[in-house]
């Protein structure tokens, strides 16, 4: 099945203009909440600088920190596994499930498991996983992908949730009250928590110094699963490592404020040792991250703490929706991470941007997102993934623009055509003309005016 590229999917999304406006305003509101929270911290820009430097330092010593983290984690009683790619990650998780013959599985939000397509893999093995983050559960019930890494159901209106819950959870038809719907989800998922045998969680930060990890939630779902189930599997990308516990002071001050405008998530849970009688596993995943680490222009993308501030500020994301990016991680950060995973499939993403630079300036760890978008464009074209028509157009443009004579001639031709035969330009073949008028052609160019009046 051919996946639509971003431009096609976005055009489809925008057809419902009212809904696009609603989606755009909702996310802009989240951006504003972030601004308000950041304004409350006079040292905000200093925090970003510290966070950026801590991550830069960590990436430059990644192998060392990974090794010491593993050592400490094992000493804490955590079983550590390593997965080279998504497939291996899924196999490891499945093996643990099979070894213990586990049936009742709950999962709190982990973008890594989305990236590895864990749920789909397990379903094929006859194992179902219940996603417990409310937004994730909603999209799971609707058989959709999340559209935002922090607010998975941001593309849905309460009507949509109400309809789904009515169909599948037997709630009152037409009752759209978020309080009522959340209560229904609480009751529905509580049974799963209480009966759970395995809890799968993500990892927000892994502390090299202590061999522990931190999981942040507002709902408490990660903890509800981790402290009920007898087996806890935490999944992390190699880039989640930070050197010391004290660095959490920097990251936990930036994370929630950047993501939702809250001072901190309700729960910042620090796991160091399994509870008595429990097995705690950690799966450390590469899946292209070491390759990205080796790309000098793009390695900074690994600093990401998955706050989605870049999504909320991006004027393109807000008007095209996460599904237009056809990947687990959408938005600006996705556009610089995904070409590393599959350049051909994701060749469209770095072009889904005007390079406005807003993303780089909300990023709490100062990733130069917009600069990387520009650089990925060069790489993708050099790799041969630009459409042929574009390539020919650009070569033509380059030829004209490097010759003053050709440039002047083409310019005059363009203006003359527009003046005397506008229908040649103002038609369905001209994508500009679809919703915009062409600029009025002046009688003479500036160069011609200058020639007449000044030289």
């Amino acid at each position: 099945m051919k996946v639509q590229d971003h431009a096609q999917a976005a055009a489809q999304f925008i057809k419902d203009e009212e809904r696009t406006d609603w989606h755009d305003e909702t996310l802009w509101f989240v951006r504003q909440k972030r601004d308000l929270a950041a304004h409350g911290i006079p040292e905000w820009e200093q925090l970003r600088e510290w966070a950026s430097q801590i991550k830069d330092h960590t990436l430059s010593n990644l192998s060392h920190y990974l090794e010491s983290f593993e050592q400490k984690a094992i000493a804490n009683g955590i079983r550590v596994h390593w997965a080279a790619d998504g497939e291996e990650h899924n196999k490891i998780v499945h093996q643990i499930i099979a070894d213990h013959d586990l049936k009742r599985i709950v999962k709190s939000k982990s973008m890594l498991t989305e990236e590895c397509h864990l749920n789909e893999y397990l379903i094929q093995k006859g194992i179902s996983v219940v996603d417990t983050d409310l937004g994730e559960r909603i999209v799971q019930l609707r058989k959709e992908a999340p559209s935002h890494i922090v607010l998975p159901a941001i593309h849905l209106k309460k009507q949509d949730v109400s309809d789904t819950f009515h169909d599948l959870l037997d709630t009152e038809k037409g009752n759209n009250d978020p309080q009522y719907l959340t209560e229904a989800a609480r009751q529905h998922l509580r049974d799963y928590f209480i009966a759970s045998e395995l809890a799968i969680t993500g990892v927000n930060f892994a502390i090299a110094e202590t061999g522990g990890f931190v999981v942040c939630t507002n709902e408490g779902n990660a903890d509800m699963g981790a402290h009920t189930a007898n087996v806890h599997i935490a999944c992390m990308g190699i880039e989640k490592i930070i050197p010391k516990a004290e660095h959490l002071g920097v990251f936990l001050r930036l994370l929630a404020r950047s993501a939702t405008g809250q001072p901190v998530t309700t729960y910042s849970s620090h796991f160091h040792r399994p509870r008595e009688g429990q097995e705690m596993h950690l799966v450390i995943v590469d899946n292209g991250r070491t390759r990205q680490l080796g790309r000098a222009d793009f390695r900074n993308s690994l600093k990401c703490i998955r706050c989605a501030a870049c999504f909320n500020t991006c004027p393109v994301y807000r008007r095209s929706g996460g599904h237009s990016y056809h990947t687990a991680v959408a938005g600006p950060i996705g556009s610089i991470l995904n070409p590393n995973l599959d350049m051909k499939a994701n060749a469209d993403l770095p072009f889904a941007s005007t390079l406005c630079g807003s993303c780089s300036n909300v990023c709490p760890v100062k990733i130069d997102i917009h600069e990387q978008l520009y650089k990925w464009r060069q790489v993708i074209v050099q790799a041969g993934y630009a459409p042929v028509s574009k390539k020919l157009g650009m070569e033509g443009m380059a030829a004209v623009l490097s010759s003053p004579a050709l440039y002047h001639f083409s310019g005059k031709m363009g203006r003359t055509t527009l003046k005397y035969a506008p229908f040649l330009v103002n038609n369905g073949f001209n994508p500009w003309y679809k919703q915009r008028d062409m600029p009025a052609p002046p009688a003479e160019s500036f160069g011609e005016w200058y020639q007449k009046n000044r030289s």
Partner: protein
């Protein structure tokens, strides 16, 4: 002070009045301004589309045309930013570096180099100032709302010197208009939606004119305004700063 005028390709072809206003404005301050007549384009449309490797010809031509000046002034933030970031040539890298250090967008030249404090200009209208992204975030022509930092605006400072001009306050101060180079046609739907939202913000807040430092943004918004049959007009900031009631 030898000053060269760098006029973006589409300004030369489609908005000569803005280029003329830029020239006249600089001459008002007693500057001797040359216009290297073999200039064409900075190469940005190709570079931003991933075809940076095709811009050698443009770069060489640029260095040829613009060497030997004290300042190069241009009424376009994005073109200036492109030159500052990407002008490199194999044969004459020293000349290229020299140019990168001497190229200025118009408002930053007026504020930072000429340090002008008053203008004999008058434009008694309600004006919305669109913050073109590359100029704002790239060249730091004015503070961006993303940062927790002191506000400032070079174009705003200049507009405050224009008699009768009333700057309207927008709902979203610095959102992108959606032009984005070839983005305007490769992602036509998003581009137009962004432009429409931008234009509506200005209309909603009572602007009669939309001004900016980049005619690419203005050309895109004008296309939308005209299609909507709107009374709102676009005007490059140089034309406002050079505007005199005759």
């Amino acid at each position: 002070m030898k000053v060269a005028l760098f006029i973006p390709c589409y300004v030369d072809q489609f908005y000569p009045k803005a280029a003329i206003a830029t020239l006249e404005l600089l001459e008002r301050f007693g500057l001797e301004v040359s216009y290297p007549k073999n200039q064409t384009c900075c190469g940005q449309p190709m570079a931003n589309s991933g075809f940076e490797h095709l811009t050698k010809g443009c770069n060489n031509l640029f260095v040829e045309n613009f060497s030997g000046y004290d300042y190069i002034v241009c009424p376009s933030g994005s073109c200036v930013m492109h030159i500052k970031d990407h002008l490199h040539t194999e044969e004459s890298e020293t000349a290229a570096q020299d140019i990168r250090n001497k190229v200025y967008e118009l408002t930053e030249f007026l504020v930072d180099v000429l340090k002008i404090e008053k203008l004999e200009a008058s434009f008694p209208h309600k004006v919305g100032l669109h913050q073109s992204c590359h100029g704002q975030r790239g060249l730091k022509l004015s503070q961006m709302t993303e940062l927790m930092a002191a506000p400032f605006s070079k174009p705003g400072h200049l507009l405050s010197m224009v008699k009768g001009l009333e700057l309207v306050e927008l709902d979203r101060k610095d959102e992108c208009c959606g032009f984005g180079g070839t983005f305007c046609v490769t992602e036509e739907a998003v581009s137009v939606k962004m432009g429409k939202d931008r234009v509506l913000d200005h209309e909603r807040n009572g602007a009669e004119y939309i001004t900016a430092g980049d005619l690419s943004c203005l050309m895109h918004m004008e296309g939308i305004l005209k299609r909507r049959g709107s009374k709102v007009k676009i005007i490059h900031i140089a034309e406002i700063l050079n505007h005199h009631l005759s």
